[in-house]
Symmetry: C2
DNA sequence: TATGAAAATAGCTGAAT
DNA sequence: ATTCAGCTATTTTCATA
């Protein structure tokens, strides 16, 4: 857990923020903006990766450019005895399911689905509904994004943050 | 009419896939795995960025490491006359809202919310519910992720894939 | 335990082919 | 698309506080 040895200070926060804004920025460049040498920045990035704070670096892509033009969230209601673990295994077989989680509220699970178009989505949905432990589904097709920002889960700390310790 | 502008061939697909897996990979490294020179890879990446296929490069972070330990999806039901645009403006004032979209189904909008803890989430939810045009909300707290994969919205092409307009 | 400076290696990028 | 050349960045080593 996080009680030990995670001196996540202000400099780390700024480095993470810089890398979230541009993961291909050079260490020297990042260092220049936060007042550190490139060497020091690299060391801290290496440590943040080793600690699991940074889990990777990825290109963000406009899904429609790759032909994924339809997006939906699907609430899944399971048979009462269906373990979430089963869901996890099944979900792995659907390349269209980009995220899946168990949730509170009416449904047992929520699926984030991408498909080429509504026909494709309908086909995927039929396959999901045919899974043995699925009792019913409620779909929410995404019409438009109100927030296209890249600031997802921002690098700022939460308002009532019990996050960052320091020395 | 396939000669112009954005062919997006198999090599581009592989480059995008490589950058989604590791956005800090060197051009030479990517080139080596797909049989191309680093220079050629760079030119293609530049073009993919200019075309808007690639929209950026970002570090992926474990939210809990930054103190965001609670996650939820909130269905928002609006007053009948509330334009989605209003939602967009409001949403911008909540750093806790990491994504917002209009959707079909019962609700008018779906919000992806991150908070430090459930207390923080409750506070955010109360603020959202106090917005003038919000009639009711249904919250789904995320319990666990069934798919922690980094393969979100995969670089593979959809089954019936036709891709790539731009500008 | 941290940093910064220097040196060697590796990568980036433009021009020519 | 490749090769080459000049420049920049990364990464290791070493010295310092």
């Amino acid at each position: 857990m996080s009680t030990r040895a995670a001196p996540f200070d202000e400099l780390d926060r700024k480095i993470v923020a810089a890398l979230m804004e541009n993961a291909r920025a050079s260490f020297n460049e990042i260092g220049a903006t936060i007042g550190l040498s490139g060497t020091a920045v690299k060391r801290r990035v290496d440590r943040l990766c080793a600690n699991g704070v940074i889990t990777g670096f990825t290109a963000t892509v406009r899904p429609s450019a790759l032909g994924w033009r339809t997006e939906a969230f699907v609430e899944v209601y399971c048979d009462s005895a269906a373990p979430p673990r089963r869901m996890g295994e099944v979900v792995r077989n659907y390349p269209e399911i980009v995220a899946a989680m168990t949730v509170t509220g009416g449904a047992d699970a929520l699926l984030h689905v991408r498909a080429a178009d509504v026909q494709h989505f309908e086909e995927v949905l039929e396959r999901i509904r045919a899974e043995p432990f699925v009792r019913k589904t409620i779909s929410h097709l995404v019409l438009s994004h109100l927030q296209t920002m890249g600031s997802e889960a921002g690098a700022g700390r939460p308002a009532s943050g019990n996050a960052a310790h320091h020395r």
